[in-house]
Symmetry: C2
Subunit: 405 residues, 2 copies
């Protein structure tokens, strides 16, 4: 068993040195000194150098006064999983020492403090978790120059939307994840983390998602939390800004930040927390044959916020109109599109005009997921009637005034 040992090998005519990682493919996976993992299917073992200590020395990290201070809050997910080099088991510890041990370059960018908030798979996130997360970020922003949140990628865009609505922030709040865990040669964890660190000390004051911008290790995009969506199950560049440009591009390894669109700048907004979310809001995807009794089912359970993922410009079948009209009397119904790209416009066809007459509100170019969170936020903090007025107004960049995309 070489796992956990530092070795020197010859492969592809070159010499490589690194720590042997657990591998499930049969290939040799080396963690190189650059922080990257590399996989080798054919190689020649030259030397076993030493065993690596599993316990990383704590309290040895001295902070540099010339660097900004960043808080990293971990919520779990692939990026936070750490493989014990000797046992191969995934550990849930999460300390600044571990981060710096894994990705030493981060210590050149900022002083890091770490906090383990959750260790859950992101598909298990609930609105209550978002409230607790927003509160923690709010507290951290009082003391730190920026906050990074490590998060599972499955629901990262839901969480980023929630924090973006709940928190008026004068500083960067950067969600970062990984599509491939750090025991895989193709892991995106280290690069995403470094780019998010650079972003967290940059001149921006909003909630962003930082992930690979291409399938190569050449740049990350910073997406606006309320305009981003996971668009691929496995690719490292799975996250895309929808109906908006990414906010920034962070080149790697230079970590040069190029701003690509308008943004809230650092210090532009005051720090404020709105920590309520109404949980009884539902997102319903329409399809041919789905009956409107589904709306009535949720209404009878006390739901008063409805986001519909309609077809095309924002349609459902005509036999839904009567139900929607009734529901709209005491509820808010927002129309979005399962096309995802483009803007809702219910003034073109008959069905759309009937929907508007029934009281349904056009969701502009809102993503269905963002509309869901926005309704949770608006109903929770302002009630139904005010929510009806605010839902079409851009609050934190979730609605672009024109759709060029």
């Amino acid at each position: 068993m070489l796992t956990g040992k530092r070795v020197k090998i010859k492969a592809k005519g070159k010499i490589f040195e690194g720590i042997v990682m657990p591998s499930f493919t049969g290939n040799l996976v080396l963690k190189l000194d650059s922080g990257y993992n590399a996989g080798f299917c054919e190689y020649e073992l030259i030397e076993v150098l030493e065993e690596v200590k599993t316990q990383i020395r704590g309290a040895e990290i001295s902070k540099r006064e010339d660097l900004p201070n960043v808080k990293i809050i971990s919520t779990g997910g692939t990026i936070a999983s750490r493989v014990d080099y000797r046992t191969g088991a995934v550990t849930s510890q999460f300390t600044a020492e571990e981060i710096i041990s894994d990705v030493p370059e981060i210590a050149e960018i900022c002083n890091v403090d770490a906090e383990l908030l959750y260790n859950i798979l992101s598909e298990n996130m609930k609105p209550n978790n978002w409230i607790e997360l927003a509160r923690r970020v709010y507290e951290a922003l009082k003391k730190y120059d920026g906050v990074i949140i490590t998060h599972g990628t499955d629901t990262m865009h839901y969480s980023a939307s929630a924090v973006a609505f709940m928190l008026s922030t004068p500083k960067p709040v950067v969600f970062v994840g990984a599509q491939r865990s750090s025991d895989r040669p193709s892991s995106d964890a280290a690069m995403n983390l470094l780019c998010s660190a650079k972003l967290s000390i940059s001149d921006v004051g909003e909630v962003l998602v930082c992930m690979h911008g291409s399938t190569s290790d050449d740049f990350c995009y910073a997406h606006r939390g309320v305009k981003v969506r996971k668009m691929h199950t496995s690719r490292r560049d799975a996250f895309h800004s929808i109906n908006a440009k990414p906010v920034a591009r962070i080149d790697y390894p230079s970590l040069n930040v190029e701003w690509l669109s308008w943004r809230f700048k650092r210090g532009e907004r005051d720090l404020k927390l709105f920590d309520k979310l109404e949980e009884k809001v539902v997102l319903i995807k329409f399809f041919p044959g789905l009956g409107s009794d589904l709306i009535e089912y949720f209404h009878s359970k006390g739901y008063r916020g409805f986001v519909i993922e309609g077809t095309g410009l924002g349609h459902v079948s005509t036999d839904w109109i009567e139900t929607l009209k009734k529901i709209c009397e005491d509820s808010i119904v927002v129309m979005t599109s399962q096309c995802l790209y483009g803007r809702i416009c219910d003034r073109v066809y008959d069905t759309g005009r009937d929907l508007l007459k029934a009281g349904v509100i056009e969701g502009e170019d809102l993503l269905p997921e963002t509309a869901l969170i926005k309704l949770m936020f608006l109903i929770g903090n302002y009630g139904i009637e005010k929510a009806k007025k605010l839902v079409k107004i851009n609050l934190v960049g979730e609605i672009e005034s024109r759709s060029d995309y």
Copy 2:
């Protein structure tokens, strides 16, 4: 009122001649002799030439023996709407004479017969409509060399999927729509129809969707009906093949067909119709906070087919597992991803492995909408148990063996 009259105008230093179309923007819209519409904001009227007859002479079309015969079945939607040149009203008539009058170039490609099946907005399509449509196409394929179905774009990919599963076809069955109606200068109706006509006489034997491939009028894509999705509310190139290459590219105006992927060729399959669909199948999009009681609600109403649009590689929150396990005893549950792009893989993380143990079936790289229709088709024709075996097997190109996309 110039509407409906043939005029000669001067604009941008050139002379234009055409029929004045109804316009809602205040601009002058001319239908040029090329079949295209052009909008003019500044122009000088030179001459009013004549009024256009609204009634187009019938029975004057002589069929050419050297051309293939194509049946066009209209189901409604933007592409089938025809504006009466004099009144500006949208008419629902649909005859071969009208088509040839609107798009005369089609008579050079094939002999056309037309049939008005429905005149409904596509958001009002129901599974029963798909059954009737499949039957009509089946009958038409006995006599014609190809079939074109004009369809509203909102649910065209659902209908194309349904016909693709219900019909084993040795000849082309081409769905075509338009994002902009023919009274708009930017209408894509004529070009899409010409490209679909060329496709309907080509060497292919499957159900395709033919729409603009770019925002210019330079080419259309033929998408496989079971791999395509409307991905933009308004763009003319709204349709995209997901997890697959388009089947063909049809250049315009040359109408040259270039095949881009594997395909069923003309004559490769026998003509067969499976005209059953189980309507009690539901597609449920998961989001953080959605309770599994929704599954139980549909189950109690007699639903036995469930497609879940999970997160990432195919996840829902852990508290759904017990319900799913129970439901799987007498139902089929297929997992797809709201990422849309990529493949389901529930063997990577704990939640996924628990889902598999509960009896949930991985939906491979199936689109959620295609998985829904596939379940309707499989349960309707084969019952639950056989459906469980067949759902992961590629039947008509809905599952690609590798995901390179």
